[in-house]
Amino acid sequence: MIRARGIEKRYGRRRVLAGIDLDVPLAGFVLVTGSNGSGKTTLLRIVAGLAAPTRGTLEVDVDRARMGFLAHEPLVYRELTALENLDLFGRLYRVPERRERIGMLLERFGLWEARGERVSTYSRGMVQRLALCRTLLHDPDLLVLDEPYSALDEQGAELLDRELDELVGRRTLVVSTHDPRRLERLATGRLALA
C-alpha cells in the first residue's frame, strides 16, 4: 500500500531525513521509531501528503478521502465544541450516517458528556481523544498516527489499545512512537530512524 524509496527531506541546508525506504503492505502495521528529532513526524507528514520529499519516490495506494492522519497537533478548532468539530469534518469527509458515527466515537472515547463544551476548555488528554475521534471519523483504510499515546492518561491509553487491537489486520497502519514497547506486539514491521 505504501512504497517509499530513497526519501530525503531538507529544510534549507538542514537534512532531516536521508535515504529512507519504507514498505507497508495492505493491512500491515509499521512502527516508526526513533528519538526526538530523528524525523518521525516529517516522514509521517510526507506519507500523509502534507509535505513533499526533497528527493526520492513515494507511492501511496489510497485516496486522501480514505486516509486518517493523527498529527502532533490535534487539528481541531479551539472555539468549537467536540460535536461541532466532528460535524464539520464529517461533512467534509462525506461520512454516511454522520451523527450516529460521531455519537459512537464520542461515547467510545469518553467525551460524550463533554460534547457540547468548547475544545479550549478541554485538558490536553481530552483534546488528544478528540483528535483520535477526528482521525477515525471516516473509518479510513490507512491510518497514519504520530505519537498517538501522547498526553493520554492510562484510561485513554487503554481505550486506544482496544481501538488499535480492533484495527490491526483490517486497516493499514503507520504509527510513530519514541516508546515502542506498547505497540511492538501489534507491529508487522518496524522502521528505526537514527
Binding site: A48, G49, L50, A51, A52, D63, R64, A65, M67, F69, A71, H72, E73, P74, L75, V76, Y77, R78, E79, L80, E84, L88, F89, R91, L92, Y93, R94, R118, V119, V127, R134
Partner: protein, 212 residues
C-alpha cells in the same frame, strides 16, 4: 452542489468561531470608527468632499487588513489547516469559505462605519455604495489568498500589507472614482472586472499556496 455545501459549512464555522472568540470584528469596528474620528479632526476645514472620500478608502483598506491579518489564526491554532487540506473536499472551498466569512466581517464593520462617515464628512450616493460593495469583494477575494500566504511565513504582520497593498491600489482607484467621478458607472465596471479576474485567479491558485 457538494462544493457549495462545503463552502457553506466552512463559512458557518468561521462565523461561529468569530461569534465566540470575538477577536476580529470588535477590533475592526473600533479601528474603523477611531480612524474616522481622527480623520475628522485631521482634515482641514474646506478640504472638500473629495478628500473625505479618499480618507474613507484609507479607513476601509486598513480595516480590511486588520481583519485579514486574523483570518487564518483559527486554522493556525492546533494546526487545523492541515486537517482541512487532508479532507477530500476541493481545497478552493477553504478559500471560498474564508473569503465569504471575511466579507461578512468587513460588511458588518461598514454597516457601522459608513453611517459614521456620512455623519462626519459627506453623503454617499448609490454609485459610491456600489463601489464599496464591489471593492469589498475584491479585497476579501485577493486578501484571503494573500493572508494565507502571509500566514505560512514568519513575519505575518509585515508580509500581509506588503503583499496586499499593491493589489489594493486598483480597488482604491475604482472605489474613489465611483464616489467622486461623474462617470462613476465606468469605475463600477472596472471594479467588477477586477473582482472577476482576481477572484478566479485566487480560487485557482489557492491549492498551490497551502500545499507543499
Amino acid at each position: 452542489m457538494t462544493y457549495f455545501a462545503d463552502v457553506a459549512a466552512l463559512t458557518r464555522k468561521d462565523l461561529k468561531v468569530e461569534l465566540r472568540a470575538r477577536d476580529t470584528l470588535p477590533a475592526m469596528l473600533l479601528f474603523v470608527l477611531s480612524t474616522l474620528v481622527v480623520f475628522r479632526f485631521a482634515l482641514p476645514q474646506g478640504a472638500g468632499d473629495d478628500a473625505a472620500y479618499g480618507l474613507l478608502w484609507v479607513a476601509i483598506v486598513f480595516t480590511a487588513l486588520l481583519g485579514l491579518g486574523r483570518a487564518w489564526v483559527p486554522e493556525q491554532e492546533h494546526g487545523v489547516l492541515d486537517g482541512l487540506v487532508l479532507a477530500p473536499c476541493d481545497r478552493s472551498a477553504i478559500w471560498f469559505g474564508k473569503t465569504l466569512a471575511t466579507l461578512a466581517f468587513l460588511v458588518a464593520a461598514q454597516v457601522v462605519a459608513l453611517p459614521a462617515f456620512v455623519l462626519f464628512f459627506a453623503p454617499l450616493d448609490a454609485t459610491a455604495l456600489a463601489g464599496v460593495v464591489l471593492a469589498d469583494v475584491g479585497i476579501c477575494a485577493v486578501g484571503s489568498l494573500m493572508a494565507a500566504m502571509a500566514a505560512a511565513g514568519r513575519a505575518r504582520e509585515l508580509l500581509l500589507p506588503l503583499l496586499m497593498l499593491p493589489l489594493a491600489i486598483p480597488l482604491v482607484v475604482g472605489g474613489v472614482g465611483a464616489a467622486v467621478s461623474p462617470e462613476g458607472e465606468r469605475y463600477l465596471l472596472f471594479l467588477a472586472l477586477y473582482d472577476g479576474v482576481f477572484a478566479v485567479l485566487s480560487w485557482a491558485s489557492f491549492e498551490y499556496v497551502i500545499t507543499e
